[in-house]
């Protein structure tokens, strides 16, 4: 299916949850309200026309200028070979969204990474803890306003 067909199917399912759509290449996607995310994800996975069975990636992007934290979910369907992406825009001061690990278990580690490096809290995640940084690290390194740590466990760093 082309991106515009996918968007049409999605609009039929949940028009109220969709904030904006982009049907053009290179990155067709739909921005949904955070509280609709899990329902939309489950629909994308199970709908017989869509069947997005492979969650490829979850990436968080920090936008301090408009106080937003964007989380994108990149999907592909192995049965129909079409790709699509879903996005949510969260409040940067306290970004939180429901976890999609119930729909795609692959999300578990991606969400832990987004939590670790960007500070997005995924509600109802089975095991939300840091994954790449040490457990006692402070701050979220991929945020745009991250200040480099000068000392960690007695180790001093020269900038």
């Amino acid at each position: 299916m082309t991106p515009s067909d996918i968007i049409a199917v999605l609009k039929q399912y949940d028009a109220g949850g969709i904030v904006s759509v982009v049907a053009d290449l290179p990155y067709p996607h739909v921005l949904v309200k955070a509280e609709h995310l899990v329902a939309v994800a489950a629909f994308l996975k199970t709908d017989p026309q869509l069947r997005f069975d492979l969650l490829r990636c979850i990436s968080a992007v920090d936008w301090p200028a408009n106080n937003g934290m964007e989380v994108s979910y990149d999907l592909i369907s192995t049965s129909f070979v079409h790709t699509f992406a879903v996005k949510v825009m969260l409040d940067r001061r306290d970004p939180q969204v429901e976890s999609v690990s119930g729909v795609w278990p692959a999300a578990q580690w991606h969400e832990r990474e987004a939590f670790d490096l960007m500070g997005v809290r995924f509600l109802r995640h089975p095991d939300l803890r840091r994954i790449l940084m040490p457990e006692d690290w402070t701050g979220h390194p991929l945020r745009k306003d991250y200040q480099d740590v000068v000392e960690y466990r007695g180790l001093k760093f020269n900038p």
Partner: protein
Amino acid sequence: MKEIELQYQPDLLHEGEVPSDIRTEELVLNMGPQHPSTHGVLRVILHTDGELVLKAVPYIGYLHRCAEKIAEKVTYRQFTPYTDRLDYLAAMNNNLGFALAVEKLGGIETPQRADYLRVIFSELNRIASHLVATGSYGLDMGAFTPFVYCFREREWILDLFESACGARLTYSYITIGGVRDDLPDGWVGRCRDFLDYFEPKISEYNDLLSFNHIFVHRTGNVGVCPPDLALAYALTGPCLRGSGVKWDLRKATPYSRYDEFDFDVPVGRGQNGTLGDCWDRYFVRIEEMTQSVRIIRQALDRLPDGPVQAKVPRMLKLPAGEIYCEVENPRGQLGFHLVSDGGTSPYRLKVRGPSFCNLSVLPVLARNCLLADISALLGSLDIVMGEVDR
């Protein structure tokens, strides 16, 4: 006295019956981060009951080098050498993935000869990477000889790479807009010599390792990953195909003119155990080497003349926008989510390492697995920690 008797004569115990005065508890074992079979700095905490693993909790991040943060500080061209160090056994494929993401977002057309060279070098690197996977998997299972055989052939590939780009591990050969240099004189002939030499060797590996009785017993029926589990955890590459799912990005969404080549996608069939076991994942890699040889032969036969590099400005600026681009690496799908704000460096670059996703299924597969099979399982997933931790 009765207690001592029981201790030394376990046959006196009825099966499954433990005297009430003996306390049993889980034994927690630490594996790694320095362990030969974890293939790098991976640490796994194993909760065991005798020989049985009840729970395995992987801890990663020991090789975290903030590649994604670095990407925000350097220009697009400057990031290519960093991609070499993600999956350091398949640097060519990483270069290709990043170059394609930038080219697609920037609308850069690559010359036909560059595309063919990219295919040749990615497939050679796929063979080299699978040789390491095969050889070290044999090593994990206690067979030393196949390792030496595999590295002998890999050496020839590295020589070919060295003559083309000067490096043996971190190539940075595939750059934005094409490849860095044209081939040196006589390279095509040397590559053909290698393919003629290498192709019969694959059956040698099969005799040595694949169908070896001990190896089959160590890997068949072990770490079985059914197809739906593999898809749910987004396994890709040989791990997904080992579970019988015919999914290969080179066929599904061809890039870099892969659609012009004729090749098959090998999948696991469960011929030495259950579908999706360690042996299936291993054997898919062996079969893929044959297919890579086929692709390289076709590419060499039809290698067009012409430039190898498109005109790309030194300080490349991409239009504001974003893209998600994936390529089929030896270990699975390597993805780059590139967000540009119109500047000379990425605003955000997220790397989806295939090993990262493949490793996330470990806690599920390791449950109720024998302790000795953990290394069989880890080796069959074929992880590279440089890519897991980035």
